[in-house]
Amino acid sequence: MSDIADRVKKIVVEHLGVEEDKVAENASFIDDLGADSLDTVELVMAFEEEFGIEIPDDAAETIQTFGDAVKFITEAS
């Protein structure tokens, strides 16, 4: 697993309080990991800070799963 994926997973585990092995490639933050809509906003905020990138609102809406987040951040950074 890439360094980016590790860092994203750490943020997700800490923020949502879920087990690390639940954070699979296609795990949906809301449907599988118990996030509410505001949690997803906070996750995006945390990704922005961790990776020093800007994630615009329209892009943030497309980040639904752990895999989406890793893919977006890999392309952006």
């Binding site: 505001l38 906003v41 906070e42 905020m45």
Partner: protein
């Protein structure tokens, strides 16, 4: 009364009568205050009066780029914005049938759209801190309406609806969003009224007098306090009984 030591508060419209008193009260309670307004001279004078923990942050709220920059400037200057008081407001009164789009838009822009943008600008920091207080200064006319003030009343009612919606969204993060709705308050705005107009207004106020800016700022200080943590989405009417809502 309430201890705001260690908190930073951004107050818009701090050059006006009510805004200046809100800044004084929050400062007196221990908060660091960011004084925003269009007129720099009264802001400088107020900052000099308050001494330490007071910062002047001029901003023209009809300039949307300036509005978006204000929260960033406040955070850079004070370290954070824990308390946001959206007090700035303008009037452009006219009969509804004569009201121009420009009169409508300018009041909605400053009173409502700037409030939306400022709330948005401080929200990230408040969410991370898991603590925040937003107090939006509405008006009794937002609830009752007022002839000649369709634009102003719409903007003030809009602030209440916006506050309630935002209050729902962020309550779980320790952030409260409330409104204070003043009635007739002794300020430069009401000084301009004629004696006849004042007598007419007094007839509608059970308390038989106008309110003072300090009576508004006390309500703001309460809603900004830790003690008011379970109060959110509400509108505190401070109007001498003029409208019991």
């Amino acid at each position: 009364m309430f201890d705001l030591t260690g908190k930073s508060a951004l107050v818009t419209g701090a050059s006006g009568g009510i805004g200046a008193e809100i800044a004084r009260t929050l400062h007196c309670a221990g908060a660091t205050v960011g004084l925003s307004g269009t007129r720099v001279d009264p802001l400088e004078a107020l900052a000099a009066e308050l001494g330490e923990r007071a910062h002047v942050l001029p901003c023209n709220l009809s300039d949307m780029a300036a509005v978006e920059a204000l929260p960033k400037q406040a955070i850079e200057t004070m370290g954070s914005v824990d308390i946001l008081v959206n007090n700035a407001g303008i009037t452009r009164d006219n009969l509804f049938m004569r009201m121009s789009d420009e009169e409508w838009n300018s009041v909605l822009d400053v009173n409502l759209t700037a409030t939306f943008k400022l709330c948005k600008g401080v929200m990230r920091g408040m969410m991370k801190a898991r603590w925040g207080r937003i107090v939006n200064i509405s008006s009794v006319v937002g609830a009752t309406g007022n002839p000649g003030q369709a634009n102003y009343a719409a903007s003030k009612a809009g602030m209440i609806g916006m506050s309630k919606s935002l209050a729902y969204e962020v309550a779980s993060r320790g952030i409260t969003v409330n409104a204070v709705a003043p009635g007739f308050i002794e300020t430069a705005m009401t000084d301009k009224l004629t004696e006849d107009q004042k007598a007419g207004i007094m007839g509608q106020i059970p308390a038989g007098r106008m309110g003072t800016p300090a009576e508004i700022s006390a309500a703001v200080a309460y809603l900004a306090s830790a003690e008011a943590g379970y109060v959110t989405g509400t509108t505190l009417h401070v109007n001498g009984g003029m409208a019991m809502l």
